[in-house]
Amino acid sequence: MDLILPYIATLAIFFFVYNILTWGLNIQFGYAGVLDFTFITFVACGAYFSGVFALGPGQKSTGFEWILGLSWPFPIALVMGALAAGLLGIVIGLIAVNRLRSDYMAIVTLATGTVIYGLVSNYTPLFDGFDGLAGLQTPFSQWLNINYNQFTYLWVGFCAVVMVICWFIAQRILNSPLGRTMRAIREDQEAAEAFGKDSFRVRLIAMSMGAVLAGVGGALLMGFIGAFNPAGWTSGETFVVWAALIVGGRGNNWGGVVGSFVVAVLVNEATRYIPPIPGNATLIPTVRNMLIGASLIAVLWLRPEGIIPEARRRFYQLPLLPGRRTPAEGMGSAGS
């Protein structure tokens, strides 16, 4: 009992965080059709910035150096991390979204992510390079006197509250005129532009809002683990969120919940506790990564709309008018 409850609590935290991440990617890709192949970079941005706002100043002499180091309370640091990720979303979006072909978006996001990864890893004054941030006091410890297990339960609650807020944000965007415009651009960019929609601006907003959710998720991970370094955000991590979104079903947030449970919790996190096979320590993570890649392909092959498909939206039609096809029909629902 002493082991199982903290284990479940840890899985719950990852589940809540991955929900937020999957909704973030859903805003970018599921709503607006932006192929963001470097989603994990925004997560990392949120984690790093929440870290440097909450940590004390880094000192070069001790081998720990990072920018800022303001020792702010964690909830405020979390907001700053989310804002930083949102800003990065705008910056990357300015380059990536401004193109017609979706493969250009994919190339630019992937390339930007690789470059940022290289810069952060090699340039130590920023976030201590490969060693990364470490030594964050457990959040709320300055007000509450709790041990680590109690903190885990507290963090489950905190993540749950943040997740509910993110759910309302994601749902609000989905059902707003802005969300409708995003989906219209996803379905047919030229038609949406003909109706006077500024597709560049709308996609930029989607990019940045998705990045904000990514940043929130990253900050929650930072607060839970207390450390963050480049090993935690290799490009393979982006696949996990993508697989969660594609498997669960894009364009609706319930799909994201199912996907993040199946892919991120069952496949990705729960298997971390399987003891390594003697003599081949990397086999389990390797097989896990292959499973995640294969699940992406298998779902697109067999059930491209995911476990929970995006609902067809029905509009009132006069009975005598010939029926119109709605965009959700047909094999693909996102633009080319």
């Binding site: 190339i107 690789t114 090699n122 697109l300």
Partner: protein, 291 residues
């Protein structure tokens, strides 16, 4: 100044590797009209094939390299037929294929890691001591790579301009439907394109890992977008553009390593990519309807 001239020599080596890789990618991109995000892992896979054949099966290195390239061509065709074909024939949206190749790269990289382990590998060949050729100082292996790239580029040029396969590939790259109604067997041409892509990826992968001496399953990860930069700079589906872009990028990144730091030389390629995308998204040599 001497250092800059020296680095131009290294730039020629990088340009050679880059030319092999980016011509292979751009040929396939032009003919099939979608980009292969797993291309970087093709390079790595061929390097591991060569390593397995030469150090484990004790074949001569050259024979191992040739066999690995051909094997990579067959693997590329197999993946295209087994996975991509399903989505192409159903006319799935472009992003399906992008995600599928993205997922393939994860699978192949981890497959390589599962078979050969995550550690660094080396070939059992002597790199040789540098020779002084005018202002440059290059090892015999580096000279061989430059020579190989030149021969391969001439061969690609002859294939594209003199053979019916090359003509058909150019026709498909221009307009697939028009090529099809003109009686070109597009499926056969696509298969050949994948084979050539795989072979060129193999050559590039072996050349890349010979120049870096040691390699691991993630070795081509950051090189992949230097290849993308060359392909976009050259214009999608434009082999000659890719050659020119590879020469420019190869020399610029190596010379910049002298001025800035070799840690950031990939970033120079990235800056070039961004500038091209913002100023001239159609590439140096424009392709109608492809930007």
């Amino acid at each position: 100044m001497n250092l800059v001239v020296q680095s131009v020599g290294f730039g020629l080596v990088t340009a050679s590797v880059l030319a092999l890789a980016s011509v292979g990618l751009t040929l396939q991109f032009g003919v099939t009209n979608y980009i292969n995000f797993a291309y970087g892992t093709y390079l790595v896979l061929a390097a591991y094939f060569t390593m397995a054949l030469s150090t484990r099966a004790h074949l001569p290195f050259l024979l191992a390299a040739v066999l690995a390239c051909l094997a990579m061509g067959v693997v590329a065709v197999g993946i295209a037929k087994g996975v991509m074909q399903h989505f192409v024939s159903r006319q799935a949206p472009l992003f399906y294929l992008l995600i599928v190749t993205f997922g393939l790269s994860l699978i192949i990289e981890n497959l390589v890691q599962a078979i050969w382990g995550p550690g660094f590998q080396t070939y059992n060949i002597a790199v040789g001591s540098p020779l002084n050729l005018g202002p440059f100082s290059l090892t015999p292996i580096q000279l061989i790579i430059i020579g190989l790239a030149v021969v391969a580029m001439v061969a690609i040029h002859l294939m594209l301009s003199r053979t019916s396969l090359g003509k058909a590939m150019r026709a498909m790259s221009d307009n697939k439907d028009l090529a099809q109604v003109s009686g070109i067997d597009t499926e056969r041409i696509t298969t050949w394109t994948w084979f050539i892509t795989g072979c060129l990826a193999g050559l590039a992968g072996i050349a890349l890992t010979v120049t870096t001496v040691s390699f691991n399953p993630a070795s081509a990860d950051s090189f992949l977008f230097v290849i993308f930069a060359a392909v976009i700079l050259g214009g999608i589906g434009r082999p000659y553009g890719a050659m020119a872009a590879a020469a420019i990028l190869g020399i610029v990144t190596e010379v910049s390593a002298v001025v800035v730091s070799s840690t950031y030389k990939d970033d120079i390629a990235f800056v070039a990519l961004v500038v091209v995308l913002l100023l001239r998204p159609q590439g140096l040599i424009a392709t109608r309807g492809k930007a």
